[in-house]
């Protein structure tokens, strides 16, 4: 096992990783920008290294700085968290070249899954259903038109190197295709330096359902059920839950086994998430995340598995300690992402947190690096806390969520806690009847 892990991240996930390491008896090195000197994980870590000024490109995205920090502190592994360098295959290579362990999969898997077209091909080969569409990058407008005729409108044009909802366009008929093709292509070029596009069937009202898998270096893979992350705003997940209100046990087992077999046939190791769209009883693979995810606590609460601990163990070459038959999903969990934003306009609200009081008691978990007096820097992501509740059933879980939100105090900045409170009064959410467009419409209606 590792002696010392460098945490190449900030905020709640840095604290999450610190906690896992601390509980495993592993020393931690925090790296931080000058804006984060007072961050909680910096204070708790065994060692801390300032790696640069506030802009992420000069600190948290600065591969040389992170690696130098790992070198001078004699860390033997680097945990990248999520975001920043977590899906940077070159960084993973560099970590290995420096004789340290990157806590994640092999760089080749990161690289392959980071390219949307390659990922889709890999998924198809591995037996996963994909959204019908072009087999590779489109040659030209003509191919796009022929393809769209074949699979039927509406279709979606997507940048091969896109992500975060950028470089996408819905085309509802052949008359729109030519101009959409040209626009998306130049957007893709501008945003990602790669104009390659592909085209696929556009699903009208799918859910976003993802399967958590966990694989060791010896070919053993298990899945830990699904998370329903359909509640999104501007392609950012806002609320996640598991199990999905839309699946029954047979569907869960079927897609879980598909994901598990796919990971095995890819030769994948470490944690990973297969993301699917789900519509009319069918799953369509969209991408695979080769890292820890923000919403991982949902799975932890229903499976009893500490995913970060397992991720570290797997990276150290430990085998999975149990098989699929020992995975026992129990109860229901919901996670709310709480952002420092105006709950109506979503304008960021950085600044000093004058009071912070997290809810407690049975079935309530808070993952947050906030504390009273902490100043939320304006430089980074606005997510400041994750509230995760667990209950025996979904209804118990919703009731618990309400009482926990009522107890949550964050003063001095605006937060999205009121949005989550409002959601609990929305019959569609309470009934579990929502798709990936639902929240966007709900928010628009509330703003109108």
């Amino acid at each position: 096992m590792f002696d010392k892990v460098l945490i190449a991240n900030r905020g709640e996930v840095a604290l999450r990783i610190h906690r896992a390491c601390r509980e495993m008896g592993i020393k931690t090195v925090a790296v931080h920008s000058t804006a984060d000197s007072d961050a909680m994980h910096v204070r708790l870590a065994d060692q801390a290294v300032c790696i640069g000024p506030p802009p992420a490109r000069d600190s948290y995205l600065n591969k040389a700085a992170v690696l130098s920090a790992a070198t001078i502190t004699n860390a033997d592994a680097v945990h990248p968290g999520y975001g920043f360098l977590s899906e940077n295959a070159d960084f993973a290579d560099m970590v290995a070249e420096h004789h340290m362990t990157f806590i994640g999969p092999e760089p080749e898997h990161i690289r392959r899954m980071g390219d949307k077209i390659a990922a889709r091909e890999a998924a198809k080969e591995a037996g996963l259903p994909v959204v019908p569409g072009s087999e590779g990058a489109l040659q030209d407008e003509g191919e796009a038109l022929a393809m769209a005729d074949e699979i039927g409108y509406p279709v979606l044009l997507k940048a091969a190197s896109g992500g975060g909802g950028k470089g996408m366009k819905v085309v509802r008929g052949p008359n729109e295709l030519a101009s959409a093709y040209r626009t998306t292509r130049s957007e893709a070029e501008a945003a990602f330096g790669n104009p390659a596009l592909y085209l696929e069937k556009y699903l009208e009202a799918p859910r976003h359902i993802e399967i958590q898998v966990m694989a060791d270096n010896y070919g053993n893979v298990i899945h830990l059920g699904e998370r329903d992350c359909s509640l999104q705003r501007k392609h950012q997940k806002v609320v996640e839950e598991g199990p999905s209100p839309a699946l029954n046990a047979d569907q869960r087992a079927a897609i879980g086994d598909l994901a598990r077999e796919a990971a095995a046939s890819l030769g994948y190791s470490s944690l990973g998430t297969m993301e699917f769209l789900y519509e009319d009883g069918k799953f369509y693979f969209i991408e695979m995340n080769t890292r820890l995810q923000v919403e991982h606590p949902v799975t932890e609460m229903i499976s009893g598995v500490d995913l970060v601990r397992e991720q570290i163990r797997l990276a150290a070459g430990a085998p999975l300690e149990y098989g699929q038959e020992s995975v026992n999903l129990c109860g229901h969990a919901i996670e709310c992402r709480i952002n420092a934003e105006n709950p109506h306009t979503f304008a960021p609200s950085p600044g000093r947190v004058t009071e912070y009081h997290a809810p407690g008691g049975l079935g309530v978990r808070v993952d947050s690096a906030l504390y009273s007096g902490y100043r939320i820097p304006p430089t980074y992501d606005s997510m400041i806390a994750k509230l995760i509740v667990h209950g025996n059933g979904r209804n118990e879980c919703l009731m618990r969520l309400r009482r926990a939100l009522e107890e949550f105090v964050v003063e001095g900045v605006q937060t999205t806690i009121p949005l989550h409170m409002d959601l609990l009064t929305a019959p569609d959410f309470v009934n579990g009847v929502y798709d990936i467009h639902w929240l966007e419409k709900y928010v628009e209606a509330a703003q109108a």
Binding site: K27, A30, T34, D38, M40, V42, R43, L44, A45, D46, Q47, A48, V49, C50, I51, G52, P53, S59, A64, A65, L67, S68, A69, I72, T73, R352, Y356, Y371, S372, G373, Y374, R375
Partner: protein, 157 residues
């Protein structure tokens, strides 16, 4: 009232009132006297951040550095007006090669642009130039010592 002696009772009474009313400052003036009592915030803004319970490990902790162990020493010198700070994380070297004389020593006059140290990061050696003419009053970062971003290397006066 007695010009020379402090009216302690008055001060104590105001202090008590400060407590009772949870006010932070009272200024109280009569024709003969003006008294101001202030209690600075008890709440240090960072006070809720946990302090590690573990004693610092092997490396020497920076003086006055609470919480996580800082890398080098004298990091409070970073605020010194003459401090030349490290632009990167790495290892500081005083000389161009082992055994060679150091680039600078205390008391040396240096010219803007003159190399003060090397910082090794990612197997490359980065010269740290003097930002201005001056006299080296102190070499802060140790030879072959790890330095973090913003850590003082040399004091130039």
């Amino acid at each position: 009232m007695a010009e020379e002696s402090v009216n302690r009772e008055l001060v104590r009474e105001l202090a008590t009132l400060l407590d009772e009313t949870e006010i932070h400052e009272i200024e109280y003036a009569t024709e003969a006297l003006r008294v101001r009592v202030v209690r600075h915030q008890a709440v240090q803004h960072v006070a809720a951040a946990p302090q590690p319970a573990q004693a610092p490990a092997a490396q020497p902790a920076a003086p006055e550095t609470a919480g996580a162990q800082a890398l080098g020493s004298d990091s409070d010198l970073a605020d010194h007006p003459g401090a030349v700070t490290s632009p990167m994380v790495g290892v500081a070297y005083h000389s161009p090669e082992p055994g060679a004389p150091p680039f600078v020593s205390p008391g040396d006059q240096v010219k803007e642009g003159q190399t003060l140290m090397l910082i090794e990061a990612m197997k490359t050696f980065n010269p740290i130039p003097a930002p201005r003419d001056g006299t080296v009053s102190r070499v802060v970062a140790g030879d072959s010592a790890p330095v973090e971003y913003g850590e003082p290397l040399v004091i130039l006066e």
